[in-house]
């Protein structure tokens, strides 16, 4: 009986969500009254395993293999599977990263389980976990109960647990050599790359005016552009706008774009899917303008106007100009 947290690193660098997941592991193992085990898969990860061992947990497994140097779904699935079979945890926790989305469902399937992905909270009820997940793009929440004896697998959403609650400690590091064979790894990865140097650095902006699907057509973009101009703000967008080519990709805010924390973030016609929220919820003041009063963006907004952006935005431009003159 234990909780196992699988941390994520790439090329010797932690994914910052790893520590949030470790916080979850510390809290849940305490509530369940079981040990916390931590796994660090990779190649040449001695120093990282030692760093993890300085956090409060019972043991750190350095899951070390040359074939784990560059991430592949097949190698990581096999490595973590071997560890889970050896350690027999009740609950296995991951950060909900792109990498975890790529292999953890496969891993859970090998144990006839479902990965409870992107959970935002975990409650322990009579010893077993109940996970809270977003449904319908964040419009509703759902409590998901797992059964069947486990091991249970879950990935946790960025920000679900606060990293400042991380407790220090001292734990032993144990090497774990997973049985991997090069021939059974089907994916051949190449070096990661960026499309182009980013000409637009949204992270430096004090005010960001961001536009979403509510704008309806490319021809309407200037309406919002004018507000950005009046405020002296950078223009940004949610993913669908960049996908459609209405604004360049480099203006995208969200999990696949830039993460920003300006003084003011104005979300116009953006419903607030979680992929967008993770990129902007650190803004000091969030303003939402949306016709749907139930849009998830209002969950994070400090100020809101429920209304038609095609009326509200031009009115805002007028008022901003008035206030500035």
């Amino acid at each position: 009986m234990s909780v196992l947290v699988v941390l994520e690193q790439t090329g010797g660098k932690w994914n910052r969500m790893s520590w949030e997941t470790l916080v979850a592991g510390q809290q849940l193992s305490a509530q369940m009254g079981v040990d916390l085990h931590v796994a660090v898969p990779g190649s040449g990860i001695g120093a990282l395993a030692a760093e993890a061992a300085a956090k409060k947990c019972a043991k750190v497994y350095a899951v070390e293999h040359d074939l784990l140097k560059d991430y592949t779904a097949d190698a990581y699935t096999a490595a973590v599977e071997a560890l889970v079979r050896a350690v027999s945890p009740t609950l296995v926790l991951f950060p909900h990263t792109y990498q975890v989305r790529d292999f953890a469902p496969k891993l859970a399937t090998r144990f006839s389980q479902v990965l409870i992905s992107d959970a935002i909270a975990v409650k322990i009820e009579s010893g077993s976990p109940v996970f809270v997940r977003l449904l319908f793009q964040g419009k509703l929440n759902g409590d998901v109960r797992v059964s069947g004896g486990g091991p249970y697998f879950a990935s946790l959403q960025a920000g679900a647990f606060r990293v400042d609650a991380l407790e220090s400690g001292s734990a032993p590091v144990e090497s774990f050599a997973p049985p991997l064979a090069a021939a059974s790894i089907r994916q051949k990865p190449e070096a990661p790359f960026r499309e182009s140097a980013r000409a637009v650095d949204l992270t430096a902006a004090e005010i960001i005016v961001s536009v979403g699907r509510g704008i309806k057509e490319k021809e309407n973009i200037p309406i919002v552009e004018e507000l950005a101009k009046a405020l002296g703000a950078e223009l940004a967008a949610s993913r669908p706008i960049c996908d459609a080519g209405w604004l360049p990709m480099e203006r995208q805010v969200g999990s696949s774009g830039q993460t920003v924390a300006p003084k003011v973030y104005m979300a116009i016609g953006i419903s607030g899917a979680i992929q967008h929220l993770v990129g902007m919820k650190g803004a000091k003041t969030i303003v939402a303008i949306n016709k749907d009063a139930n849009a998830p963006i209002f969950e994070v907004a400090d100020y809101g106007i429920v209304g038609d952006l095609f009326e509200v935005v031009p009115a805002l431009v007028e008022e901003v100009k008035k206030a500035k003159s």
Partner: protein, 256 residues
């Protein structure tokens, strides 16, 4: 090449959702439904691959009778035929249960490539494709932004976080989960809609695919999320609310 595209029907994006009487799902009676958006991109990618390399595109959908509408639309856009796993009570299955049904239907078809959207807009587990690949014993890759077919293998562009990408090569058959925005969606033509009427939709039942495994993950209750933040909503017509907001931005937030 033979491509199967797994598509799902979900409530239209702007739906006003209400929790049903037993608190475990939404009231579906008054809702309209459409193809899950990432699945629409997967379908488009399949159609484009067929145009380049020849072959066949088969749309696969597990869903109740109403899903037939979404299947027809896929056929109208250019899918050659469809398989409908028709079942009213799919909600009682978990992702593994649904993936087992889909994998069962795929197996009989022996395709070269299976595409699906990276996640559904309703449950959002984002794993049906990967689980299907594992059940079929074939390779998978997720969050794909480009697909190049080269004989018996494919080279894909996988999206990573923060604007990074990576190319990955793997053997066929394989399952890819497609990211929204990988291509430009087409509209069904009048001719396409006409042709769709004569295209085959094979209906398969749960029983034919073998009994589904009991769910290990069940939704106990669904509810409107509790607000963690106090949002000040400015009421009034556009001009009044805009004026109130600008006043806040000027005197309290101090950015004007």
């Amino acid at each position: 090449m033979k491509i199967i595209v797994a598509i799902k029907q979900v409530p239209v994006r702007d739906s006003q959702l209400r929790v049903d009487a037993n608190g475990r799902w939404i009231q579906e009676a008054d809702l309209s439904f459409e193809i899950n958006e990432p699945d629409a991109y997967a379908l488009e990618e399949a159609l484009q691959l067929k145009e380049k390399h020849g072959g066949e595109v088969v749309a696969l959908c597990a869903g109740p009778a109403r899903a037939a509408q979404t299947i027809r639309e896929a056929l109208a856009k250019g899918a050659d035929r469809a398989i409908h796993i028709e079942e009213e009570s799919l909600n009682t299955l978990d992702t593994l249960g649904v993936a087992k049904l889909l994998a069962g239907a795929v197996k009989a078809e022996n395709p070269d490539l299976i595409l699906t959207g990276l996640q559904s807009d309703d449950l959002g587990y984002g794993q049906t494709g990967v689980v299907m690949a594992e059940l079929l014993g074939i390779a998978s890759s997720t969050i794909i932004m480009q697909v190049e077919v080269d004989g018996a293998s494919i080279r894909v562009k996988r999206e990573l976080e923060d604007g990074w990408f990576q190319h990955i090569t793997m053997p066929l058959p394989a399952v890819l989960t497609i990211q929204s925005g990988i291509n430009k969606l087409r509209y069904a033509t009048l001719m396409g809609i006409k042709k769709a009427k004569s295209k085959e939709i094979k209906r398969v039942t749960l029983a034919e695919l073998g009994a589904a495994a009991p769910a290990t993950a069940t939704i106990e209750k669904i509810y409107v999320p509790q607000k963690s933040k106090q949002t000040q909503i400015f009421e009034g017509d556009a001009k009044t609310s805009a004026a109130k907001l600008v006043e806040k931005l000027k005197f309290e937030v101090r950015v004007i």
